[in-house]
């Protein structure tokens, strides 16, 4: 039997380069208010568990979990913070519901990156302090290392990566949340400044502010809550070794593991033909190719060619990041997974507006925690 946890409400705020008018907490209140309205729940009465996905250094406040209850309606209610991507938070909410601790659980994650004046200092600080921290460069050098190894091992053509950025930035032009949408060609992407070779600036997603809230419910409870339920049928998450030097830099092994668990749970046997859409990690251009192969949506080394031939376009055989993804919309730190989930949920509800993929019924969503991590999560959704 596949997993059957209902997504009964979603809400978001922000999706802008800066949100100087609102505090993090006010941004969260806005997203939470919308999600509760969407679900038809009162957080003071109907919710038994609240989960936030945040990281203290991004917040600039230690033990940041303590500052989460008020704006979510969670004062004197069970709340915990998980310092990981939002999809890991959803997995925790699923467990709370399956165990009977909660009928209704809420998951929030956000980015208030505009409050951080030197984000590179924080990413660099995530490198092993003794073994790796000596490299005094923009931390995207790790992405450059992965990309070079991926291109070499899969014999993928360099400009296929650029095509990912072209596709996603173009998709984002149709998305009201798409901060970094643009109509570019491959040359523009390839000729933009090199961040850390072979990766260029236009192949790197840019961070934005935003808060996203999900309301989850048991199947029994979901019957009473609205008529636009989307189901989580499988979920998985995984972390590889932190040693950059020792893990397989050519592939996203964490995504492969997460997907195989989520697929098994959901009963997905042939992922390449099973889904109507996919929202996968595209923090950097090559990451989308790596992720598609890890998720078995493309054979090893074939993702680039398929992107080039239009298989993953919005009107292609399997639309991938039809929303614009992180390259087109923007990167939301630990809320990136919830952003991808949000886009997939709107698609499966038929509420994606100009982005709508006809007859979308099944979706796969995948996220990565960013440099220098090797942690990711996958969710299988159906309506």
């Amino acid at each position: 039997m596949p997993l059957r946890i209902a997504i009964v409400g979603v809400g978001y705020s922000g999706f802008d380069s800066m949100t100087p008018g609102l505090s993090t907490r006010e941004l969260m209140f806005e997203a939470a208010s919308r999600a509760y309205e969407d679900a038809g729940v009162d957080p003071r009465k109907d919710v038994q568990s609240f989960i936030c996905c945040t990281e203290d250094f991004w917040e600039g406040i230690s033990i940041t979990d303590e500052y989460m209850p008020d704006q979510l309606g969670a004062v004197l209610k069970p709340l915990c913070t998980i310092s990981s991507d939002g999809i890991v938070g959803l997995a925790t909410a699923c467990m709370h519901i399956m165990s009977g601790i909660a009928d209704v659980a809420v998951v929030e994650s956000h980015s208030k990156i505009s409050d951080v004046l030197n984000p590179d200092e924080i990413s660099s600080f995530a490198l092993d302090p003794i073994y790796d921290h000596h490299v005094n460069a923009d931390p995207r050098f790790v992405a450059g290392l992965e990309m070079a190894r991926y291109l070499k091992e899969t014999a993928t053509k360099r400009d296929y990566c650029a095509q990912v950025a072209v596709k996603n930035k173009k998709n984002a032009l149709l998305n009201s949340r798409g901060v970094h949408g643009a109509n570019l060609d491959k040359d523009a992407v390839l000729n933009s400044n090199v961040a850390s070779s072979p990766l260029t600036e236009l192949e790197s997603s840019k961070t934005i502010d935003g808060s996203i809230v999900f309301v989850l419910a048991s199947a029994r409870k979901a019957k009473k809550l609205g008529d636009h339920t989307v189901w989580i049928n499988g979920i998985g998450w995984s972390s590889d070794t932190p040693w950059i030097e020792d893990r397989d830099l050519a592939k996203a092994a964490y995504a492969e593991q997460s997907a195989s668990r989520a697929y098994k749970m959901a009963g997905v046997r042939n992922p390449a033909t099973f889904f109507d859409l996919a929202e996968v990690d595209d923090t950097y251009s090559y990451k989308e190719l790596q992720s598609l192969e890890a998720l078995k949506l493309a054979a090893k080394g074939k993702a680039g060619k398929m992107v080039e031939s239009g298989t993953f376009d919005r009107d292609g055989q399997l639309p991938v990041n039809a929303s614009g993804g992180s390259l087109g919309v923007g990167h939301l730190l630990e809320a990136t997974g919830l952003h991808k989930m949000l886009e997939a949920v709107l698609q499966l509800r038929g509420q994606a507006g100009r982005l709508q993929i006809p007859r979308a019924k099944k979706a796969v969503v995948q996220s990565w925690r960013g440099i220098p991590t090797a942690t990711g999560a996958v969710a299988v959704l159906g309506n």
Binding site: L22, S23, T24, E26, R44
Partner: protein, 171 residues
Amino acid sequence: MSQKITSYPGHEITPEDVKEGKYLDVVYKFEPKYSWAAGVAISRFLAELKEGRIIARKCMNCERILVPPRMYCEQCFRPTDEWVQIKDTGTVNTYSISHVGTDARRLKTPILVAVVDLDGATPGMGILHNLGEVEPSKIKVGMKVKAVWKSSSERQGAITDIRYFKPIGEE
């Protein structure tokens, strides 16, 4: 160590050992920088402090007057409704006399920390601040106090625009 225990097993590392490099470590000074957006409620609160006033928000549902002000009521989970000017006088809810600084050293002059319930706010709501112009031994829970402000030219829209709270006689 105690009367019964005069030494612990193992080898004690002395400051000299560290100086001589017998034990290796890596030193790094982490320097993240932030510029927190104060938001709608706290921005107004700070702007009012600059004018020498304290402002709160009222929730019409539970009728509480909230300070520090917030744009949402955490009990009712709804937006708050209006700004309310409250007084710069109040009552010491609790206090503590701190003898240890942030660097763990003993302080020559102790720091007088108090939670002050502000007049005009819902009872039990107020401000965490320092006390001044008072002998530590004379501080009492329930004591009436009043804000001592910096001069208007010194105020910059910060919680420290109030220097401290000092005792006032019962009215």
